[in-house]
Amino acid sequence: MSEGERLLEVRGLAVYYHGRRRGSVIKALDCIDLSLESGTAIGVVGESGSGKSTLAKAILGLAPIHSGSIKLAGKDITSLKQRSRRELSRILQVVFQDPSSSLNPYITVGTTIEEPLRVHGINNREELNQRIAKALDQVGLSPDVVNRYPGQFSGGQKQRIAIARALIINPQLIICDEVVSALDLSIQAQILNLLADLQKSFQLSYLFISHDIAVVRYISNQILVLYQGRVMESGTAAVVIKNPCHPYTRELIASSPITNPRAQRKQRDERQWERPSGGTSFTEEFNENGCPFAPRCQFAIDICTIERPPLKFTDDGGFTACHRYPEWQALQK
């Protein structure tokens, strides 16, 4: 597939779960669109409960899809059976957040890494060993780790093993679900560099899910901001983060502390008047038909609570789901 072609295309995706009360429905994802070009990375950001992990699960066939479609490399994969998933796994792989739980503690690292190959009928021991050694080398581990168990490795090393398992089949798209958030800062940087190197070497695409906007800014070309299962804003990562077009995006960015005491204190003092702190309310309830962010939004007006905002084009070439775009941007000054 040549660069620039759409590798992944999600249209109107909705994932519903049954609520605790009888008959109630939790809309984990509601009408999500995204498209990912081959060789690029899209970052998905949002708070817990925003649906970002559900999006990954839906693409991986691990979540109940209510409506919408998912196309990967031109093929509709919305409701594939387990057997057809096997072919798909040549293209699509995943790395999870918690490296301790994503590796089976009872089987050796070698057995874990070779599993995708065995699934595709490669059982020749020599070839397996060769490819395991190559995958381990790509993630910066020495080949003698194959006979050890995951418990003998640190978090960063386990994450490298999980990446090696995803890489060994030469996929085109890797879904990275919070892959660095459980890691220490110095290890996080190593893994981010590794992912960036691998992307360059193999023309990999990433769907990169993270709550950390700095990480997403670093690794992604595109960004998708989710809140309560809906798209708030999407666009080019650097542009969106520099000039957010949705109040929620701005809130997310401004909440991430800057690692510079002067800049951070300046930012927080400037914003002190905006929202009296202590605003954590009991439940974030919102009108189904309105904007989910309206109860927390300082720019909300009547229409925001009763009418669902459509996705509008922004001046920067992205989309935002805000009734008050662009006038809120002028109001914040």
């Binding site: 817990s48 991986l60 691990l62 387990q82 057997r83 998933r85 096997r86 798909l88 995943v94 999870f96 957040q97 994503s102 089976n104 599993e115 995708p116 595709h120 581990l141 020495s142 050890r148 168990y149 418990g151 003998q152 490795f153 640190s154 960063g156 090393q157 999980a162 398992r165 220490d184 800062l185 110095s186 996080q188 940087a189 190593q190 560099n193 590794l194 190197d197 709550h211 950390d212 906007i213 700095a214 990480v215 800014r217 670093y218 650097a238 809130e251 997310l252 401004a254 909440s255 502390p257 690692t259 510079n260 005491p261 002067r262 951070q264 702190s277 202590g278 605003g279 954590t280 009991f282």
Partner: protein, 655 residues
């Protein structure tokens, strides 16, 4: 940048080696368990001996089972009959050995039947859930309601003397309990990320169950199997005793017990070998199962870290002077504090000679990666160290008093009113069984000794203090009904109940979303301004440090690596480690450019080198860094840095 040519430092940035690591018994094997558990070794050895004795009875038994020796009837232990003889002079030892040939096959049948039924059914029910699970649940419930002994007796009545039928029935009837256990073990496994990863790869359900689920449940199966074996043995003996599977006079354990019982008045000894052996075997099966269970629990809990035994013994590094307890206007002073974990053979340092102060009304940040010792330091201050850890050296002064020397009751009096603790997981600091009001009220009552009404108004004050909008409503709520951010506010209110002089916050925002983190940080700052308390915040998040702290202490591998005012630390770190950490932060990086990383990783507790502990990862390490322990150097404007090359590196413009 000056290159130091003879640097024996691993420059390979991406290569990670694991040679030094020894994470204990990760691969669970019977052999290792036996080595670590003497009791299991004894029980297993005994069972093996008895079973081998039964198998090779014709070879090892001194007499045939039915050889009569009427002269020596009922002899008791003699040289001819080591365990005595019965009323017809038959050798008891030989009969026991031959009797095992009847009993053990029956036990095996019972256990195998249970396992063959329970393992696949339990895994299938747990894995697929849904209708299958409900069906299995209904059937197991029904089977569990049948009294096993009665059905076994019915089967024996239909198939007289048929121990196979009896034990297969037994196995079938005990399998429901095992099915439930295996199903319960399967449930968390089937949702584990490694199963998701396998599924994404296209591994079939059958393969997932065999390759991923089965290894996870096999341990519990072995353990339960040995309990079932004990019970099966009891059944075999009981059926033999009743004469249902053996004729009277046969070399069969139940029959031997029965005849010994009848002859109890004439030769009491006769009951000892048979009854004792049966008792011992049942005991051995049970203890063996228990030992296996304990061992497998330890395996799952084993992680690299304090339990791993490293190479460097407890040692003292040279410490620069200048940390003597001076005239104290400090609120908290740690003086040469060392904390060690005790293992079987020796102590392993986790915190090595740490000295720092917290001034009144000051917010101090204790930062570092995992394994740096930051949490252990804060726990040592509060005397909340885990059991294996203890303070091995140094003092903690609080408000002019040496709190390391206090006895527990003295310290308890001090703890509530002087310290407050806010921990990382807001959920775990609240008891799910009680309302917020009753938990907070209990603390208020403890500290203020006030009545219900006074306690309620103080609770509302505290909740107002942490900016909760409808405090009356919150008091009646249970912890699961409130959000993480709210729970952290309640935890802070609880910490404030005793009006502490020092609030210790251990990763107070790490589990929270950024928007909530911002609010909690703002709250901590406002509370500090209002109450003038000091705050010691333990964190790995430099953003939180930049937001909140006055002064920062950077820990690495149990030592202080740098200490400075927050502005100076971020403007100009004077230690290569601090500098490296700040640069590695993706928020400062250009997309497309590689992040400037620190290669390798923090040496684990117990394998700290004697030289600079960061040298292996430091791009500027030179011979002098590897020559010996590095002192913490005092620099200008009350800064400290543990880097002997700090002056060189400043001249070179690196720091």
């Amino acid at each position: 940048m000056n290159k130091h040519s003879p640097t024996p430092v691993n420059p390979n940035a991406n290569k990670v080696t694991t040679g030094t690591e020894n994470a204990g018994m990760q691969n669970w094997s019977l052999g290792r368990v036996l080595l670590h558990k003497p009791l299991a070794l004894i029980c297993g050895g005994f069972l093996l001996l008895v079973i081998l004795g039964a198998i090779f009875a014709p070879l090892v038994a001194p007499y045939p089972p039915n050889a009569l020796d009427l002269q020596n009837a009922l002899s008791g232990p003699t040289a001819h009959h080591l365990l005595g003889s019965d009323e017809l002079g038959r050798d008891v030892l030989s009969r026991l050995l031959y009797g095992g040939r009847r009993v053990f096959p029956g036990v095996l049948e019972g256990v195998l039947t249970a396992l063959i039924l329970a393992v696949p059914i339990g895994i299938l029910a747990g894995y697929f859930g849904g209708i299958l699970d409900r069906l299995v649940g209904a059937i197991t419930d029904a089977l569990l309601s049948i009294p096993t002994i009665i059905l076994v007796l019915v089967v024996i009545a239909i198939f007289p003397k048929n121990s196979h039928a009896a034990m297969i029935t037994f196995g079938t009837l005990v399998s429901p309990g095992l099915i439930r256990i295996i199903r319960g073990e399967t449930l968390p496994l089937k949702d584990a990320d490694f199963v998701s990863a396998a599924r994404v790869t296209g591994v079939s359900d059958l393969q997932i169950m065999i390759r991923h689920i089965l290894p996870g449940v096999i341990r519990i199966v072995i353990v339960q199997g040995s309990f079932i074996a004990a019970s099966a043995l009891g059944y075999m003996v009981a059926l033999g005793y009743l004469g249902l599977i053996a004729s009277s006079g046969e070399a069969e354990w139940g029959q031997m017990v029965a005849s010994a019982g009848a002859l109890l008045n004439r030769q009491p000894w006769l009951l000892v070998p048979s009854g004792g052996l049966i008792g011992l075997i049942v005991l051995a099966f049970t203890l063996f199962g228990n030992a296996l269970r304990d061992a497998s629990a330890e395996t799952i809990a084993a992680t690299p870290g304090p339990v791993s035994r490293g190479s460097s013994p407890l040692e003292r590094t040279a410490q620069p002077q200048g940390f003597s307890p001076g005239p104290s206007n400090k609120l908290l002073s740690l003086i040469n504090l060392s904390v060690a974990f005790s293992s079987r053979s020796r102590d392993i340092l986790a915190v090595d000679n740490i000295s720092f102060d917290v001034n009144p009304s000051e917010i101090v940040g204790l930062v570092g990666e995992s394994g740096a010792g930051k949490s252990i330091t804060s726990l040592a201050i509060l005397r909340l160290l885990p059991n294996a850890a203890r303070i091995v050296n140094g003092q903690i002064m609080f408000d002019g008093r040496n709190i390391t020397g206090m006895n527990d009751s003295e310290f308890d009096r001090l703890r509530g009113s002087s310290f407050g603790l806010v921990s990382q997981e807001p959920g775990t600091s609240l008891d799910p069984a009680f309302t917020v009001g009753s938990q907070l009220g209990e603390l208020v009552h403890l500290h203020d000794g006030v009545n219900r009404k006074g306690s309620r108004s103080r609770c509302l004050d505290l909740l107002n203090q942490v900016r909760i909008r409808k405090p009356e409503q919150l008091l009646t709520m249970y912890p699961h009904e409130i959000s993480g951010g709210m729970a952290q506010r309640v935890a802070i209110a609880m910490a404030l109940a005793g009006r502490p002089k020092l609030l210790i916050a251990d990763e107070p925002t790490s589990a929270l979303d950024v928007t909530v983190q911002k609010e909690i940080l703002a709250l901590l700052r406002q509370l500090q301004l209002e109450t003038k308390m000091s705050v010691l915040i333990v964190t790995h998040n430099f953003g939180a440090v930049a937001d909140l702290c006055d002064r920062v202490i950077v820990l690495y591998a149990g030592q202080i690596f740098e200490e400075a005012n927050v502005f100076e630390l971020f403007d100009r770190p004077l230690n290569p480690y601090t500098k490296g950490l700040l640069l590695a932060n993706p928020s400062n990086a250009q997309p497309g450019q590689p992040l400037p990383i620190i290669p390798g990783r923090i040496p684990s507790i117990g394998s700290w080198p004697t030289n600079c502990r960061f040298a292996e990862r430091c791009p500027y390490a030179a011979d002098e860094c590897l020559a010996g322990p590095i002192p913490l150097l005092a620099l200008e404007s009350e800064r400290k840095s543990r880097c002997i090359r700090v002056d060189d590196l400043r001249k070179e413009g690196i720091l």
